[in-house]
């Protein structure tokens, strides 16, 4: 598998995931770049994985909770790395949602991001995280309940819904 082709095919999805976990465009950009940089370092091995994209999500997930990386490691970006174009400010609803997401435990946040942003089924999430189907259902249920509590009642007047 060609690294550039893999990047082209998967990076947009990874960006969705990173943004869902962090709620910060700059942070998400950096996480995605960092994950692919690490994948490139180990590409011979990663490319043989059955699901290399899952490995990238694992890296993004771990790094998103990594204080040291947030504070210092972005310094290690290559000097030649050009600045990216500015990012449009998030909508009011997005701000509300990411603020609410930040109040959730990482497992709940991760399950919600996989489910709602990447359309992963409960079985997929269970396989990826190594958790049972019941645990994933619990994460999603508790995550939704947490969001409902955190979001303004005016925003979710009829409670949360789960279309899938």
């Amino acid at each position: 598998m060609d690294f550039d082709g893999f990047y082209r095919d998967t990076s947009r999805r990874l960006m969705r995931y990173a943004y869902g976990l962090t709620g910060d465009a700059g942070e998400a950009q950096d996480l995605v770049q960092e994950a692919y940089a690490r994948a490139w370092q180990r590409w011979r091995r990663i490319s043989r994985y059955e699901d290399p994209e899952a490995w990238l999500r694992l890296v993004v997930n771990r790094l998103s909770t990594d204080r040291w990386r947030r504070m210092f490691v972005r310094r290690d970006r290559a000097a030649a790395e050009p600045p990216l174009p500015p990012v449009a400010p998030p909508s009011e609803n997005t701000v509300l949602l990411v603020t609410a997401m930040r109040t959730l435990p990482p497992a709940h946040r991760n399950a919600l991001a996989l489910h709602y942003l990447l359309d992963r089924s409960i079985a997929d999430i269970a396989a990826e995280t190594g958790a049972s189907i019941g645990t994933v259902k619990s994460w999603l249920s508790r995550g939704r309940a947490g969001l409902a509590t955190a979001l303004e009642p005016a925003l979710l007047p009829e409670g949360t819904s789960d279309a899938r």
Binding site: G26, A28, A37, R75, R77, E81, L84, P106
Partner: protein, 460 residues
């Protein structure tokens, strides 16, 4: 306005789809750069996962692997020290660091101004406030961080480090930093290592004057510190190692730059690890598809011996010093099987080896025989004999002292002390939602919250 989560997430997804992506070449370049700097950052990475995660579930994994002990609900609040110190406005995140009895909080206002506040950890009193107005437009990728040294606190921005006196917040000096420069906060000097020209310069903490420098060396791999310095990236005990690609090591006095000793070690492998711990220098001699080999140099004698030799298919995934002369190695075998091994460096033999969790684990030790292996949201703790003593899930768990672990929830919930010897959990009280990572000493916990910077007693 959307009324359900599907629509809210769809909006968020569309927002994410509009975020510009760098080209694949940028990731490759970053990977190349990371390879080159790996020798220096390797130890620092190992400490990352200590602070990862959220509220803790504690599991005694040696005798009752299926039993999970949920956090004990508590109606009482943690005993607070002083009153919340306002962080101004409605900020959503802040960083805190602590050193020498003080805690420092950093946050960025909407107008781009950085705000700093310092408080006394024992009384909770506000000590000083400072602010730094950046002249640059806000950069989404700009790295900002706060680091504490013995006598100063350093605000890292994307282009410079600003050094404030710890006692009163006076701006002492600023130090320009290029994109990939390293900054080591040594007790005796602030040391900048330029990756561009490979020059090392040390600056006086109080005046900002350059105290010493070392000229560029073409094959300089970097500078590494004894344990306690590089791992935390903050302070050290007066020594600094300079390592070249040919395996020449110069032991330097960090205060003067004077070379105290020079010795030769095996030439490090390309992209190999070179890490210094107390009395040992660990070098990855070979790596790649044929396995890896680790050599340990006794810094007292200069004698080097091979301590680990793994055959083809094995990868060095992480390492840390788990006791005075014990090296803990996290090995990855084919099929992503990980094992944690303890190596006696003086006898050059493996003491024990146990299976470790799958995923993408990291290893870190408390330096007293106890070791943690962590992956996203899961941390397993091992005693000096390699017995998995307990496991925490989704836990922000860190060493409080040699006997106790500290669990701090990310969501509102109970702070817990976990006795390492038997897993006994003591709930201290509830803390509110935090908006950044907390810091703690043996008797204090400080967290940024929506109400401001709050300090609690861990001893009642």
């Amino acid at each position: 306005m959307p009324a359900d989560l599907d629509e809210l997430f769809a909006t968020l997804g569309r927002q994410a789809d509009a975020i510009p992506l760098a080209p694949a070449a940028a990731a490759r370049e970053r990977g190349r750069q990371r390879n080159r700097t790996r020798a220096v950052v390797a130890s620092a990475v190992a400490v990352c996962l200590v602070v990862a995660g959220a509220v803790g579930l504690v599991e005694r994994s040696d005798r009752r692997p299926d039993q999970t002990v949920a956090p004990t609900p508590s109606n009482r609040a943690m005993p607070e020290v002083g009153s919340p110190i306002s962080l101004g406005g409605t900020i959503t995140s802040a960083d805190v660091v602590a050193a020498d009895g003080r805690v420092f909080a950093l946050w960025k206002a909407d107008d781009g101004t950085f705000h700093l506040r310092a408080a006394d950890l024992h009384t909770g009193a506000l000590l000083w406030e400072a602010e730094h107005r950046t002249e640059q437009k806000a950069e989404p990728n700009a790295l900002v961080g706060l680091r504490a040294a013995k006598s100063a606190v350093v605000l890292n921005t994307s282009g410079a480090a600003y050094v404030y006196r710890a006692t009163d917040g006076k701006l002492l000096f600023d130090l320009p930093l290029a994109e990939n420069d390293g900054l080591v906060l040594h007790d005796r000097a602030a040391i900048r290592w330029s990756q561009q020209d490979q020059q090392i310069e040390a600056y006086d903490w109080l005046t900002g004057e350059r105290r010493w420098s070392r000229d560029a060396t073409a094959d300089r791999l970097g500078i590494v510190h004894p344990r306690g310095t590089l791992r935390l990236g903050e302070s050290g005990d007066g020594q600094l190692f300079e390592v070249t690609g040919e395996g020449e090591v110069r032991l330097m006095d960090a205060g003067t730059g004077r070379v105290l000793e020079t010795f030769t070690v095996p030439r490090p492998a390309d992209n190999g690890w070179v890490i210094a711990y107390d009395n040992w220098l660990i070098i990855e001699e070979t790596s790649g598809k044929n396995g890896y080999r680790l050599a340990a140099t006794d810094l007292g004698t200069g004698e080097t011996t091979t301590v680990v030799s793994e055959k083809a298919g094995h990868t060095l995934h992480g390492l840390d010093m788990c006791d005075a002369d014990r090296l803990c190695v996290l090995d990855q075998a084919p099929l992503r099987r990980y094992t944690l091994a303890s190596i006696d460096l003086t006898r050059q033999r493996e003491v024990w080896r146990v299976p470790a969790m799958e995923g993408y684990p990291m290893v870190e030790s408390d330096g007293h025989g106890r070791t943690m292996v962590a992956d996203t949201g899961v941390m397993a703790f091992y005693d000096a004999n390699g017995r998995e003593v307990l496991r925490t899930k989704e836990a922000a768990t860190s060493w409080l002292n040699t006997e106790t672990l500290l669990n701090v929830p990310a969501a509102p919930g109970p702070v817990q002390l976990i006795r390492f010897s038997d897993g006994h959990v003591t709930t201290l009280g509830e803390v509110p939602l935090r908006i950044g990572n907390c810091v703690n000493t043996e008797d204090r916990l400080a967290c940024p919250t929506l109400d401001g910077l709050r300090i609690w007693s861990l001893t009642g």
